[in-house]
């Protein structure tokens, strides 16, 4: 079983899908000769040519809008947004158009589109190259929102996204592009969109996370296991629609929940997890539902001490776990 990095797994998934289905094409800024600023599409332009890997104008709303049009015609576009932070110009196309097309036409028109966007902080990117934007979109019926945290999931979920008849927003934890290595199976390796993944079993409390934070959660769980705290870790993977059953089942077992994300606390994705638990797992809860998130400031600041202060990390998570376990 080959080992590879996140970005290699993502590239592999696109390579496989381009080879499998001639309707698939990639469109975005610098995805062609340049192979993408993170090299996610490296080599694909040379291999598949300029009709399959298309350098777009520097204009996100039309990257998505043109993708929608091509999808309506029957193609399977993969749109790359260079940094998630630059997805906002396309907000109207994503929320008003891609997400609502199926419902508004009674299923007559559908948008089989993937939007890939590197997201997240800790890479010295400052306010506009570090954002976590899942909360904006994990609220939009008609969209699916996926965040993988391992190479195997990245490949398998991206392939599923390309084959999905609905629009899928695929946020990639860019800090993990090269940092995270892992095995990738040699089979088709599809991972279904929908189910969360319990990546560590435990009985004392449940840790919910995704993307880079899922790795930190696992590390934190390891740290506190030496102190006798048996944490269960759930990699949410598909944020929208949320996998309510897995989330609730975990807290049924552990009675305590800590949710971790990089995005701001207030109105963040963790709020929905907490709300699900406060309703559906109410009688199982033995402690307040806790959230460890980015502070409520506009985004991750640039200078290193500020960035470090903003970002959750294994030690901060471990500390929150200790407090929760002691509750």
């Amino acid at each position: 079983m080959p080992e590879m990095t996140m970005v290699e797994a993502i590239r592999l998934a696109m390579d496989e899908e381009l080879a499998r289905d001639e309707r698939v094409f990639i469109v975005g800024e610098d995805v062609g000769r340049r192979g993408g600023v993170f090299r996610a599409t490296q080599g694909l332009f040379a291999k598949y040519g300029e009709k399959r890997v298309i350098d777009s104008p520097l204009a996100e709303l039309s990257i998505v809008g043109v993708g929608i049009g091509a999808a309506l015609y029957g193609l399977r576009p993969i749109c790359e947004i260079q940094f998630a932070d630059f997805i906002h110009p396309a907000f109207n196309q994503i929320v008003s158009e891609a997400a609502k097309m199926c419902y508004r036409s009674g299923g007559e028109w559908t948008v089989p589109l993937v939007i890939r966007a590197p997201y997240g902080g800790g890479i010295g990117g400052g306010l506009y190259h570090s954002q976590s934007l899942e909360a904006f979109f994990a609220h939009v019926p008609g969209l699916k929102v996926v965040i993988p945290s391992t190479p195997q999931d990245a490949r398998g979920l991206l392939k599923s996204a390309v084959r999905d008849p609905n629009p899928v927003l695929f946020f990639e934890p860019k800090k993990g592009y090269r940092l995270i290595r892992g095995p990738v199976t040699e089979d088709e390796g599809l991972v279904p969109i929908g189910p969360a993944h319990v990546t560590r079993e435990g009985s004392d409390l449940s840790l919910f996370a995704y993307g880079m934070m899922h790795h930190y959660a696992l590390q934190a769980a390891e740290i506190v296991s030496g102190e006798g705290i048996r944490a269960e870790v759930v990699d949410l993977r598909t944020l929208y629609p949320p996998d309510r059953a897995t989330i609730v089942a975990s807290v049924r077992k552990t009675g305590k929940a800590l949710i971790v994300h990089e995005d701001n606390l207030t109105g963040g994705y963790g709020a929905e997890i907490a709300a699900i638990l406060a309703d559906e797992a109410f009688t199982d809860l033995d402690a307040p539902v806790r959230r460890l998130c980015g502070p409520d400031i506009p985004a991750v600041p640039f200078s290193h001490p500020l960035q470090d202060w903003f970002m959750p990390n294994p030690n901060k998570i471990a500390q929150a776990m200790r407090e929760l376990a002691a509750y």
């Binding site: 094409f25 204009a59 809008g65 043109v66 091509a70 015609y73 508004r104 007559e108 028109w109 008849p165």
Partner: protein, 360 residues
Amino acid sequence: MGERRSAGRAQRPRANGKVKMASTATATAPAKAAATDLPLLEMFSVMLLARRLDERAWVLHRQGKIAFHISGMGHEATQVGIAYAMRRGEDWLVPYYRDLALMLALGLTPLEFMLGVYGKRGEPSSGARQMPSHFGLRRANVVSTSAPVATQIPHAAGIGLAIKLKGDERVVVTTIGEGSTSQGEWYEGLNWAAVHKLPVVCVVENNVYAISEPQDRQMAVPNVADRAAAFGMPGVVVDGNDVLAVQRVMQQAVDRARRGEGPTLVEAKTYRPVPHSSDDDDRSYRSREEVEQWKKRDPLLLFRATLQSMGVLSEAAEQAAEAKAAAKVEEAVHGADAAPYPDPAVEGLGPVYVEEIHHA
């Protein structure tokens, strides 16, 4: 000639929003010659049907039978001119809410339109999920459209890109109001079409107003078609009240697109003789005299006169067309009146997602 390149003489809307219409005196002569291949009476009938249906919707609204109507009145020549330059069953359309005549020409039935107006089950655009006239018709390659203006332009570019990538010999036409060309969506979509030389024709149905705002609140150029220069594509102004002039300009643009020579921006100058929608009151922003002026250039009257002068439309034929339209309208209203409403458990709940795509 009813059309001209945009660099030509300017047609500057005055501050009060009035536009001096280009004279069409010279437009009909060459049009007649070229028009012989066209099913002129059929075109007239579609325009007439659109007008009568539209009028009836206003009446239904006044009677309190329907909640909302947004009208295509005045735009019939532009829209039927567009339709008769397209290859049915081949070419694609990404329309906007005024395109009733265009939709009828492409196969929307009067009943289907009325089902939409009544918000009844079976309305093909959206199953009555959307407001009326938010058109879409899969069987006629007409893409579902929404309310936020200009979002359809990037879609048209994307369809054009897909046509080109697949090597199909198709063209995609998209329509929009002149006010909506102020949106970045319009700019970005047409820029794509130009950069990639896509088979896209964008028709701006310039009816002088965007709700209350006259053209000069939207742009500092006299013609929307002047904006084509930003993209490096041809921009053409045509008298939107002259169906044959529009048809001819559109045929050139569509043929050009089909030959792989790239997109065209067509501006059809017309007028909206009724309020923006049934929610609007236009007295605050324009005079009755200005509106009355329009009647002299009512596209239906103009086309009737042309057909009469060509000897194509006898009085009997016109009466027959009127009778047929009236019957169709009546039938549609009855059908829609009798039709059931959608059911929350069916049309309400979904589909938010599909499991499989059955088309395309």
